[in-house]
């Protein structure tokens, strides 16, 4: 487990939800720079709500979220990406009325360093070749895999330091999932990108993660080395249902 004092993202006692009954209850979480942390859990465990709360889409009722030493609570959602945090939501969030190029442009439209934004876009087209071939296609014509590539690519052109990634493998072929996991691992190794990865596909997530967090009914029940979680049969039976 990382040293909480040196954490890039430090969450303490986070409670949040959509109504009177909280979905998340007293969540503690740490991410160190250049670390991939996988959050797993059954449906309804609160994984997506955790990401939505971190990015400000859901207002927490209690707790703190510290990002690189500064409090994250109260940050306006549209300022989050400027602070180095990009969120790829569940369902991919591709704006289907816009073309591939426009979606990518939207990912860096706020950036002042236009040269680097162009370089980042070229890198995305290089890694996700299908996107380069369909750069003028509207989002609604893309396949599920292409949309996932576009959503991740759009987040990466912002050059984030932390990527919040929600269910990237959902509905995708194993080959595409594997390609995305390899990309995340390479980005961590090459650029020091931190990733908070929410996944139903536990094996896939733990295969690239440094640490794993198991959520159950809105609470953290286990935080451990990713490899140990993947190998713990009792844990998988108890909380992950397989």
């Amino acid at each position: 487990m990382g040293d909480p004092a040196g954490s890039q993202l430090r969450v303490r006692g986070l409670t949040a939800g959509y109504g009177a009954a909280p979905v998340l209850r007293g969540i503690d979480l740490d991410i160190d720079p250049g670390q991939i942390v996988a959050v797993v859990g059954a449906n309804g465990a609160g994984k997506t709500t955790l990401l939505r709360t971190l990015s400000g889409l859901v207002e927490p009722t209690e707790g703190s979220m510290t990002w690189e030493g500064d409090e994250l609570r109260g940050t306006r959602v549209h300022d989050l990406v400027r602070r180095g945090i990009a969120h790829v939501p569940e369902g991919r969030g591709v704006i289907t009325e816009l073309t591939v190029e426009e979606n990518l442009r939207l990912g860096h439209v706020w950036r002042k360093d236009k040269d680097d934004a162009r370089r980042a876009t070229a890198e995305v087209f290089e890694f996700f070749e299908p996107l380069a071939r369909r750069r003028r296609s509207p989002g609604h014509q893309l396949s599920g895999g292409e949309r996932q590539m576009l959503a991740i690519g759009r987040a990466l052109v912002a050059r984030p330091r932390l990527l919040l990634l929600d269910e990237p493998s959902l509905g995708l072929a194993p080959k595409v999932t594997s390609q995305i996991m390899t990309l995340l691992k390479n980005l961590r190794d090459d650029t020091g990108l931190s990733v908070l990865l929410v996944e139903q596909n536990v094996r896939s997530a733990m295969s690239i993660a440094d640490r794993g967090v198991v959520l159950s009914l809105g609470e953290v029940v286990v935080t451990d080395d990713a490899a140990r979680i993947a190998e713990d049969d009792d844990l998988r039976h108890a909380y992950l249902g397989f």
Partner: protein
């Protein structure tokens, strides 16, 4: 002589104004998923402001600038200080507030200007130019066409070629996602209302002087026709607004030219009902997304 050609060009000239007004409705619908029923009243207010500025300065052009600028301001203020406080999940609330704004704006205009029509001048002749003995467009019609075309081209360029246009479209289509990508959605919404106010103000200034003149209710019927045009074209579609506006202008012109002018409103209502029955989302609504 068959008046078909004259009725066609006259219909297109009127339709261009409806198209611009419909575009103002589309701008707000795309951003806020709200039919701005106060658009007509807002435009009546900007027309009175133009009337006052023109009377004070003696310049039609200063009046035109005043209509556009005041439209921007009224639109922005309406969004920022009224509509933003309406619960977006309760669509009926927004409609009621917009209708309430109509009453407030028209009452204020009535108090300030009274209820008599105030004729307004136009900067060019409204006498049709003829080819042979065939009357066609008047110089004012040409001015209207060119102005509306310039507005459409400008908005089209802004929306498709500029960063601010991209952000406005993103904010309209997927507000939460746009926020996550760094777009200040609230600001884009204010800008949409401001632009809609300006376009509506300009459209009203183009059409009101050709009728009885400035009046708190001078734009009521224009709003109805523009609303019909926007629904026919598809409330999501700027191109639909233009085509719908021109279509409504043509239908009105043919009906009043070949039949009874009193039938115009009935025919437009029939057209609206027909489109709603056959293609409720409008003729130019978005293509179905690929299922993934």
């Amino acid at each position: 002589m068959d008046p078909f050609i004259f009725l066609t060009v006259d219909g297109l000239a009127r339709g261009a104004v409806f198209a611009a007004f419909a575009l103002a409705l589309v701008l707000i619908w795309r951003g806020a998923r709200l039919v701005n029923f106060s658009q007509g009243a807002m435009a009546a207010a900007t027309t009175f402001i133009a009337y006052s500025v023109t009377n004070a300065s003696g310049s039609y052009w200063l009046g035109l600038v005043a209509a556009v600028v005041s439209g921007l301001v009224i639109g922005a203020i309406t969004e920022r200080y009224v509509m933003r406080f309406v619960d977006p999940t309760q669509h009926l609330n927004a409609v009621i507030v917009a209708l309430g704004l109509v009453l407030v704006i028209q009452a204020i205009l009535g108090i300030i200007y009274g209820s008599q029509y105030r004729p307004m001048d136009v900067p060019f002749s409204r006498s049709p130019l003829s080819i042979g003995d065939q009357p066609l467009l008047s110089p004012y019609d040409i001015f209207v066409f060119v102005t509306v075309l310039a507005v459409m081209a400008g908005l089209g360029f802004a929306f498709t070629r500029t960063d601010i246009g991209l952000k406005m479209r993103a904010a309209a289509f997927a507000p939460d996602m746009a926020r996550l990508l760094g777009v200040n959605v609230g600001r884009m919404l204010t800008l949409s209302w401001a632009l809609a106010g300006a376009v509506g103000g300009l459209a009203a200034l183009l059409v009101v002087p050709t009728e009885l003149g400035a009046h708190p209710h001078a734009t009521d019927l224009v709003f109805v026709y523009a609303f019909t045009a926007a629904v026919i074209g598809g409330l999501d579609s700027p191109i639909g607004a233009v085509v719908g506006g021109l279509g409504v202008g043509l239908v009105l012109s043919y009906v009043s030219g070949y039949s009874d002018n009193d039938l115009s409103a009935v025919v437009i209502l029939g057209l609206l009902i027909g489109v709603l029955l056959l293609r409720p989302s409008g003729l130019f609504s978005h293509a179905t997304a690929r299922q993934v």
